[in-house]
Amino acid sequence: MLRYVLGRMTLTVPVLVGAAVFIFLLMQLVPGDAVSAVMAGGAKLSPEQQMEMREAFGLNRPVLVQLGDYLWGLIQGDLGRSTRSDRAVLSLVAAQIPSTLILVSAGMVVAIFVGVPLGVLAARRRNTFVDTLAMGTAVLGLSVPQFWFGLMLILLFAVNLGWFPALSSGGFNGLVLPAVTLGIAEAAILARLVRSSLIESLEQDYIATARAKGASDRRVTWRHGLRNALVPVVTMIGLQVGNLLGAAVVIEMLFARQGLGQLVVNSILRRDLPVLQGSILILASLFVVINVIVDILYKVLDPRVKLGAA
């Protein structure tokens, strides 16, 4: 087990290095740099001043040298400094992580507490009107654009009913609408997965045995059927955290909520490439870390899983 965990963690190193290099190269494609962003703000800089600024930011060195410096900095835990405020990227990013993680967790809670019961309901009432309705709702939840859905929630629950604030700023009340917006699509995915997985496991022999023992229908579904059906579901939940991290960027902008998403968008607008680079790298790392945790959990759930074997 320990060997598996260590092996799995070693595998993340090349993935992270690859991500860092890829993100760095991607940044080179962004039109305009920090100097042109400052000038777009209305500042008049002479060509000499522009050169000085590029010199100060190290923007005039060959790309490969910049890349090497960047990777060397990463090894030392240095993500560089913001070209706008001169503050360490790591501290800027770290300040935004808790808010994003809270939102993602809350979104996951919504996904699980809506998706799993909905899937169970649909599986138990298979091929009835309830099933059709539940799965129809799930398809709807999947296809509705999150941005639009969030706006509708704001209009209904903030503007018309006044139950929740439109702006999300800490606190439970402000978390409800963004968490629902974020979680609903994942809930739909979970519902469909739980339904098919549960239907499959309810057809297994041991279910028939359980029924023969005289277990109640409820007990058969929840204790015997769902427990086994949840193996793929847990894997899926882990992967979904990755989706949620990505979607959180949009949701944070919509609800004006603190977090990595706001930082990413602001740093794009300011052409603050070190901050942009750092935020994306941290998002990617979170995704990688969560996947490692999922893989380890999977091993716990199913001891047959091996590294590198299908």
């Binding site: 405020s85 503007v159 604030p165 847990v234 919509l254 004006a256």
Partner: protein, 631 residues
């Protein structure tokens, strides 16, 4: 095993969610602090009243003692009765003592009453203060830093304007109000300006404001300059001379007739150079000014909050409508990037004020009870498309004129701007006294005339609706837009296609816009500029303003126009300058260097409970020193 694996995941999620809930109370603590402070003031006044009451009680006790003494003396006198003169004298003395005691008691009573009144007043003040409340300003973008000297974006300056003060303030109608300077006089050659400074002003950190501080501030212009307003000032700045403690004289290397306007921009506010140096890299995060609000905190991705400066009692009444302190206890800038959310937050009352209302949201907002929508004209270069004379086909003046006759601004105003902004006719907005209305007669909408001009220039209409010349080249018109700032471009494209242009729209964004338009010449680059002095038109049309990061994005390079613009920027006689500016406007339109689209208007929407904010001469910056919220 499986159960074990499932539970921690859910448990972690639940714990994190609870954590989120626990973080909720944060926002209220600072407000509580301020309330506590005001209450402490009231308590102090109450204590004073009690002390006065105690004094009055003491006096009353003294009076009682004196009365007792008198009584004793009377008794003694009655006993001694028979013509004892000494006793008579004692009696008289005792009576005098009683009078004195009575007067003292009365005085003490009055003092006690007065103290009681002070206490009540203090209490009322506390209530009034609470009534000033917290004003929340919904802003579209987070500032990048708050050192006024380095402020580049309008978002930086919107916040800076509340924390710092400028030497002079530009009010609506271009009226110059006193700021940190109470008097000023421009040298006869316009190469120097002398300011008499306001006395008794202090910075938020307690440092005094005086001539030396002003000199240190302006001498920052001699070092590394990064802010936009500072860069403008640095162009000709030479030195600041300290005449006495409260008089300075700034000198320049060239005439600066518009120096008062330049010094009134929020980005030209006086900073505390010593404090900035001590703070180093943190200066942009910990602003120290003299203004009505003190920086409190900046939560990245969420808000900046400012607290009332209780020492700010030198406010300029003619501009702020108060001499200070500010009426609102706290001013919060909440960053809300999404337009729709910003609008929703105003109707739910989560914010009290929002800027940059998108044109399509104006009418729906006007319908909502309790919300006022108000537009402010932004003087400057209207929203235009340059028509670059540097490349074919627009190097031919007939093609440029054809473009001007093909564009129907009235349709653009109606469909794109919902009738909320007037159409433009020339390079200068009609806010200026120097505006020359003759330009309104130049290019009426006339697609037939446009077609004739193009035919005459050798561009013939093909079967596909696109014109080509003899060499088979298509009549190309690349319209380049700066995303979200130039919403009219697709309609413009449509209107140009009507007369046979091969028109396309290219979109760039933010920093990339001025990079791209500086490097490449396009036929029709979009642009608008806000300024308070007509001579600033120089930066939009002068050949020195061409290149990456610069704003002459049409690459207009015309020595005759350069000469006119240069002359206008140093002309100190306003009448003579108006004549030059009139010539500039006619010249630009004669040469068909731009298609004017609309005169820029920014709309603000605010709660009817909010009153008393002031707007500057550019129409862009709002000052909240005199603003308050009724409950």
């Amino acid at each position: 095993m499986k159960r074990l694996a499932r539970r921690p995941l859910i448990a972690v999620l639940v714990v994190l969610t609870m954590l989120a809930a626990a973080c909720g109370g944060e926002d209220t603590t600072a407000a509580d602090d301020a309330a506590a402070q005001a209450e402490a003031q009231a308590a102090a006044a109450q204590a004073e009243a009690q002390a006065a009451q105690a004094e009055a009680d003491d006096a009353a006790a003294a009076l009682a003692q004196a009365q007792a003494d008198l009584e004793a003396a009377r008794q003694a006198a009655t006993e001694a009765m028979e013509g004892d003169e000494a006793a008579q004298a004692a009696l008289a003395e005792a009576e005098a003592a009683q009078d004195e005691a009575e007067m003292a008691a009365e005085e003490a009573m009055m003092a006690a009453d007065e103290a009681q009144m002070t206490a009540e007043e203090a209490q009322m003040q506390v209530e009034e203060l609470m009534g000033g409340g917290t004003i929340v300003f919904g802003t579209n973008q987070e500032p990048s830093q708050l050192d006024a000297f380095a402020a580049t974006t309008v978002n930086d300056q919107a916040v800076v304007a509340q924390i710092y003060e400028t030497l002079v303030i530009l009010g609506q109608g271009m009226q110059v109000h006193p700021g940190l300077a109470t008097t000023w006089s421009l040298g006869s050659d316009a190469m120097s300006v002398r300011f008499g400074l306001r006395e008794g002003v202090t910075f938020h950190n307690g440092d005094p404001f005086n001539a030396q501080v002003v000199k240190e501030h302006f001498d920052r212009l001699k070092g590394e300059v990064s802010g936009s307003q500072s860069a403008l000032l640095a162009t000709h700045y030479q030195d600041t001379e300290v005449i006495d403690d409260y008089t300075v004289e700034l000198s320049f290397s060239a005439p600066v007739p518009d120096i008062l306007i330049d010094l009134a921009a929020p980005g030209a506010a006086i900073t505390n150079a010593a404090a900035v140096e001590a703070l180093g890299a943190d200066a942009g995060q910990m602003p120290i000014g003299t203004g009505p609000f003190i920086f409190e905190e900046w939560v990245e991705g969420s808000h900046i909050s400012l607290l009332r400066n209780p020492d700010w009692t030198w406010g300029e009444f003619s501009f702020y409508g108060t001499t200070g302190p500010a009426r609102a206890e706290r001013l919060v800038f909440r960053f809300i990037p999404d337009d729709q959310t910003r609008t929703a937050a105003l109707s739910t009352g989560e914010i009290d004020f929002l800027d940059l209302v998108p044109f399509q949201n104006i009418a729906p907002l006007e319908e909502i009870d309790g919300i006022t929508v108000e537009g402010f004209s932004l003087p400057g270069l209207p929203q235009v498309n340059y028509i670059s004379p540097q490349i074919s086909p627009t190097s031919d003046i007939r093609v440029r004129q054809a473009i001007l006759h093909a564009v129907d601004q009235d349709e653009i105003v109606k469909l794109v701007f919902f009738g909320k902004a007037p159409r433009a006719y020339g390079p200068l907005s009609s806010d200026f006294a120097e505006y020359d209305p003759i330009v309104e007669t130049y290019y009426p909408y006339d697609p037939e005339l446009s077609a004739q001009l193009l035919d005459g220039a050798g561009w013939t209409l093909g079967d596909d609706g696109i014109r080509r010349n003899a060499g088979g080249e298509t009549l190309q018109a690349r319209i380049i837009e700066n995303r979200s700032w130039n919403p009219w471009v697709t309609l413009l494209q449509d209107q140009l296609r009507e007369v046979g242009f091969d028109a396309e729209v290219i979109t760039l964004e933010g920093g990339g816009y001025f990079q791209g338009t500086g490097e490449t010449i396009y036929e029709l680059a979009s642009m608008g500029d806000v300024f308070a002095s007509p001579a600033s038109l120089r930066r939009d049309f002068h050949s020195s303003s061409i290149g990456p990061g610069n704003i002459n994005v049409g690459h207009i390079n015309d020595p005759d126009l350069d000469a006119l613009l240069d002359a206008a920027s140093v002309e100190t006689n306003l009448g003579a300058r108006a004549e030059i500016m009139s010539e500039v406007q006619r010249y630009i339109m004669d040469q068909a260097y731009i298609v004017p689209i609309i005169e820029l208007h920014f709309f603000t929407a605010f709660s009817n409970d909010l009153s008393g904010f002031a707007v500057d001469g550019t129409g862009f910056y709002k000052y909240f020193g005199g603003a308050s919220l009724s409950q």
